[in-house]
Symmetry: C2
Subunit: 556 residues, 2 copies
């Protein structure tokens, strides 16, 4: 795996000068797009002769046609044109005979789309821009055409630090024009392509698409339901292609892979749980971390600063008795000037959020010059020997699967299944990169009897819902296992993006809303009729119901 | 496009001897998998040293470990082992000292999974099998292990002509083990990989995933709805990434592509419509065509044979008056011994089904040796100059989009939009391969005013539902267009598969059922509660409701 990611990393081209807007952590990783090798020959259907980013001194004297967005204009003399390949400076003609061209180029609002034709010329001595790959030349324009005008923008494209995330999501198509989003999405495309080439071309894996419309299965409480045209019958969106990949193994699709969609209806629950971090933070850093926790995880975080007199400076100080405060101070071994971050909620989720906040703190401190981690390293870690079962949270006498009921027990522990199942280790494994879980997988159970015993006897599940899988195991299922990588998170780590929403073209807000199109949206009852469902309005939501047709208001 | 598919076709490797079960039409196309170049080096986690299909005389004397399914056994002396790379003959040891190995290999039922270790030896002179790529050698087994046993099969894997399609779908994991399904799915994987390499690596396209959970949009009557946790709010599964691809163009994702899922809730309506075909068919051919129409399209087809006395020999003869019969005979210019196939229903769908039946007839006649089409040719055809609008079926005074409301008008016809919109040609184009529509696309409207005029004034749609798209067009949307290929159908044509269900790993039945897992399935009301919906049982379906918990019975 290490080798695999390192090869992938090594295979990506070296950076060009175009990635000026990258965050430091991603600059350090130095992954970038090549603009050169991707310039294709253009067909007769393409209006441009070149892209904006590719012209150099070697093109001097050439007649070119370029299309792009107006990035900015200087004194009605220069105009910078942008396409996905880069920027180029265009000289607006000033002579009387070219008045119509000047009018078009001077009146078109910023971010309008134009086509220009002209000659590649040298910039006058002293006016070269070494920071710009096309900075030695400019285009002397002869003709221009306004392809589409742009109205006043809600924010400027060139600023990557934009107003609010809600605004960015609402105008996602504008946000996508930023260098950072172009970089993230194009890098993602190339990374996935490298993965495919490695798996398909080098190792004979077969790419198989599995269905999106499936049925509810045990443990599927987080699956979206889809009503069918048969009364009372529902499909589900699978949380993962978990069962299908096992069925493909039973079907002899040796070495299967898929870039799959996973659908998890996480709802939105504010969870809280105590943990702490230290590692010279200022009060404004704490505020930025609290905002990060609120924006990205919907999680409230409260700071505790330990004063010289060992008293707490904290909004929670009043709510906790002094004796408990000093107890906690001792327990957490807090020293003067230390900062503790306090949160509350379900243990596992809060730990995960706090783990991320710890990384965020490290980012803040490193941005200030403190070297905490070697940024050139990809540090991988395998987590193994998980327990196969955990006591149920609501009823600790009973067991539930630590991961899912299809994970095989550790070969040395199989006999314990029948005596002390809580002691059985699993053949599950997690992969961690630089402190972040980026994937996990397991060797699966291929023995139908063992699978039935675990489902029915240990987990008390209704095996009828899984009869297709149990039956498949009886028909010569080979021993099998695999791994799933979280692509969004992996690409976040590689690009240094602060959120997975920065590596997805059209992400949902953390509440699951599409702020651009306003999904989910209400439907008239007649559109629900073919699906034999009706809305059960909660008793207290009559007001909400009557407001359904009001104008759209994005969440803040 | 022609060049593109021809390159793709040319780039696929030449066939090996393993594709013995292909249908003639696909054999003629001679596309196959390479088994040689895909054998990877094996890691320490892999139990086998080689695959079953790769061993040759050059491996003589090597000690190997193989894993696979027992394909068949001959007189307890030979056993043929199969994996996804091919078949190999294994010699079961007969000496007393190897009694335990013999017992394992002789008692394991067919399709059990075994691991064997032994030596590659020559077959005795005269016992070579030239039809088998591994036919010069066999494995002298020393050790064997039963990895998983197989219970009695519902059908034999090696027969591609299996009982019924319902049975194949119910036991899909067994069906997937057939040579034909392995070939189809692996070829599909390779074809898609070639497409990706062509688009990404040669032409700088960027692969972007667009969301599955979207909102209902005009013309979305066939979109599945997904209730959200907000009362009365629903997502939709998009019929295509149509709007997202436009928004990506507005976002500057120049040269986007995606291997996308499209969700269309077609329901199941038996449609009927008259058409005819000729081209020496026997009565049993007609029966097979009627069965094909019923199985694949849920469509009833009735034949008319014209007798020497010009009377009809047909089940519909009695229902049509003699005068009308002879009128139809003249109109359709039927000659003696001609066959007419009659069906009824919605015009466009019936025409499409009859087009497919015409191709099916050609297949039948060609299988009999009649040469109607050159099988080595890929004949492409562009269909252009479609009308932009059609009169509404239920109200011919009003217009509806011939394809969808985002298609741009033909540049020469723009002025007609305001006077005679029904005469406007569109910039839509369809691509046809060997008589089958394999793709279509259009130049889109990039002008917000024009788009608003067409939606609001000509089509009387509620533009509020599309405000995100109209707004995006106002922010400097570049002129753009594209094409979508129907991958399932394209791969059907290349493999010669009779149905798209033969090129999809886990297809639904034509009624939209997953016969393996029994999806869609009923859900207890408490699982619907978080989604604020309840089932509206049709008045006449109380009986059905009470039978929901009965055992699963696959559709026939």
């Amino acid at each position: 795996m290490l080798c695999w990611l390192n090869r992938l990393h090594g295979a990506l081209p070296a950076p060009t000068g175009r990635i000026a807007h990258l965050r430091p952590s991603s600059l350090r990783r130095r992954l970038a797009l090549s603009s050169q090798r991707r310039i294709p020959e253009f067909s007769s259907f393409v209006a441009r002769t070149n892209t904006c980013g590719e012209l150099r001194s070697s093109h001097l004297g050439q007649e070119v046609t370029l299309c792009g967005w107006i990035q900015y204009r200087r004194q009605n003399v220069f105009l910078v044109l942008r396409d996905s390949h880069g920027l180029i400076q265009v000289v607006i003609p000033q002579d009387e005979s070219a008045a119509s061209v000047k009018k078009i180029l001077c009146e078109a609002p910023v971010e309008s789309v134009v086509r220009v034709s002209g000659t590649v010329i040298s910039r006058p001595p002293g006016q070269e821009n070494p920071k710009m790959p096309t900075g030695e030349i400019e285009i002397k324009v002869k003709t221009a055409e306004l392809l589409n005008s742009c109205k006043k923008l809600p924010f400027e494209i060139k600023d990557f630090v934009k107003k609010t995330e809600a605004l960015r999501l609402q105008y996602r198509y504008l946000d996508l024009r930023s260098f950072q989003m172009q970089y993230n999405l194009r890098l993602r495309s190339q990374m996935v392509m490298k993965m495919r080439e490695y798996l398909c071309n080098l190792h004979g894996f077969v790419d198989v698409e599995t269905p999106t419309l499936f049925k509810r299965t045990p443990g599927g409480a987080k699956e979206f339901v889809i009503p069918s045209r048969e009364p009372g019958k529902f499909y589900c969106l699978p949380q993962s292609p978990q069962q299908f990949k096992q069925l493909l193994m039973v079907g002899g699709l040796d070495r299967y892979f898929q870039v799959a969609r996973c659908y998890r209806d996480e709802g939105s629950r504010p969870d809280r749980q105590p943990e702490f971090t230290q590692k010279y933070l200022k009060r404004k850093d704490i505020e930025s971390i609290r905002k990060f926790a609120a924006d990205h995880f919907n999680q409230e975080v409260l700071p505790i600063f330990l004063k010289a007199n060992r008293n707490w400076n904290s909004p929670v100080a009043k709510s906790i008795m002094e004796e408990q405060r000093s107890g906690l101070t001792r327990l957490m071994e807090i020293q003067e000037d230390d900062v503790v971050l306090l949160t509350a909620g379900e243990h596992k989720k809060a730990c995960s959020v706090l783990g991320k906040l710890r990384l965020e703190c490290a980012d803040l401190l490193e941005a200030r010059g403190l070297v905490l981690r070697d940024p050139a390293l990809f540090s991988f870690l395998w987590v193994v020997d998980f327990p196969l079962f955990l006591p149920k949270e609501e009823n600790p006498e009973k067991l539930e699967s630590a991961h899912h009921p299809f994970t095989a027990p550790h070969p040395s522990d199989v006999q314990l299944l029948y005596s002390e199942p809580e002691k059985v280790r699993s053949q599950h494994y997690d992969l961690v990169l630089n402190g972040n879980e980026i994937g996990g997988g397991s060797i699966r159970i291929h023995d139908a009897e063992l699978q039935r015993y675990i489902l029915a006897e240990l987990l008390k599940e209704d095996v009828k819902l899984l009869s297709h899988l149990l039956q498949a195991l009886e028909f010569g299922a080979p021993p099998h296992g695999g791994i799933a990588l979280g692509l969004d998170r992996l690409i976040c780590l590689v690009t240094g993006a602060p959120s997975i929403r920065d590596v997805i073209a059209f992400p949902k807000s953390f509440r699951g809303h599409d702020l651009m199109s306003n999904a989910p949206d209400s439907l008239p009852p007649e559109e629900l009729k073919p699906y034999h469902i009706q809305v059960s309005w909660p008793a207290d939501s009559e007001a909400e119901k009557s407001s359904l047709n009001q104008p759209y208001c994005p969440e803040s």
